[in-house]
Symmetry: C2
DNA sequence: TTGCTAATTAGCAATTGATGCAGATAAGGT
DNA sequence: ACCTTATCTGCATCAATTGCTAATTAGCAA
């Protein structure tokens, strides 16, 4: 995702308006690697701008996704997560704390059973334990 | 997933009862490679046994999953899909018709960015076009 | 067979994440 | 400053799933 300043320009030239709510979300999302949900973003936004609507958060996330500034991912946590990192990568989800980490995969594996199917995209979800959660279990 | 006959024994010895509703679902799921949703299963079941409740379908699917007889997968179609194939495999989803196909991956790819995380499971979702949908587009 | 009892079913309420809708508001070009 | 149009908020709605419970029934035992 581009910087809040660049997004301001991009939104205006797309005929979209740049509101305080959107600027706040631009800032909250920029360089955010926590893969937040709409709800967690709304909480963070509310701390700065009380009264901001969850509906507005959803709306802005949808706009950003349509502009290709972020991707939405589904890792089985029940709700969509939003990722300003739009590079080609995958995710590891900790079964302990639920945190989502970025994973980069060197090379596509060889497939079997996929005759007559043209693949345009692949997304891998790894599950396991992050370092912190492994340590917790060990000390118990 | 085991055969309806074997499941009958397994359920009884687990203290669970074998009802006509469950037997029907055993049959509908056995060797079913369509990755059905709870709702599509309920439709299929209703055709044979009018009045069977969607709640019962969910309940039986949960029981079977807890017994390890089937797995539930999430491929971004909004609802859970159930898979009596519990072997280690992945899935390809057609963006045209939504059909879900099994994919077998030879060997785990090399990962980067996963320091300090122990992976216990991985699931790959491929997206693309199945043969039938590619053909449709070609003839248009 | 018959009876007992715990498991199951069906129906409906409740929950959750997300989207539809509309009147009030405000961005931003003129 | 003004006007048009996009946006915001609050609320209704929706879809998938789970919670709850009275009525039913499977399966064991007498
Ligand atoms: Mn990511
Ligand atoms: Mn499968
Ligand atoms: Zn963790
Ligand atoms: Zn298809």
């Amino acid at each position: 995702m581009r910087s809040p300043e660049e997004l301001t320009v991009a939104f205006r030239s797309a005929g979209l308006k740049v509101t305080p709510q959107r600027q706040l979300l631009f800032r909250l999302l920029h360089d955010n690697s926590s893969h937040p949900t709409a709800d967690s973003l709304h909480s963070a936004a509310t701390a700065v701008m009380p009264g901001i609507s969850l509906r507005t958060v959803y709306q802005t996330l949808t706009d950003l996704a349509e502009m290709g500034e972020l991707q939405s991912i589904e890792v089985g946590s029940g709700s969509l997560r939003f990722d300003p990192n739009v590079s080609d990568h995958h995710h590891a989800v900790c079964d302990g704390c639920g945190d989502v980490h970025d994973v980069y995969v060197s090379k596509a594996p060889v497939l079997r059973g996929l005759d007559d199917f043209s693949v345009s995209d692949a997304h891998i979800v790894y599950r396991g334990q992050c370092g912190a959660c492994s340590a917790l279990v060990a000390t118990k």
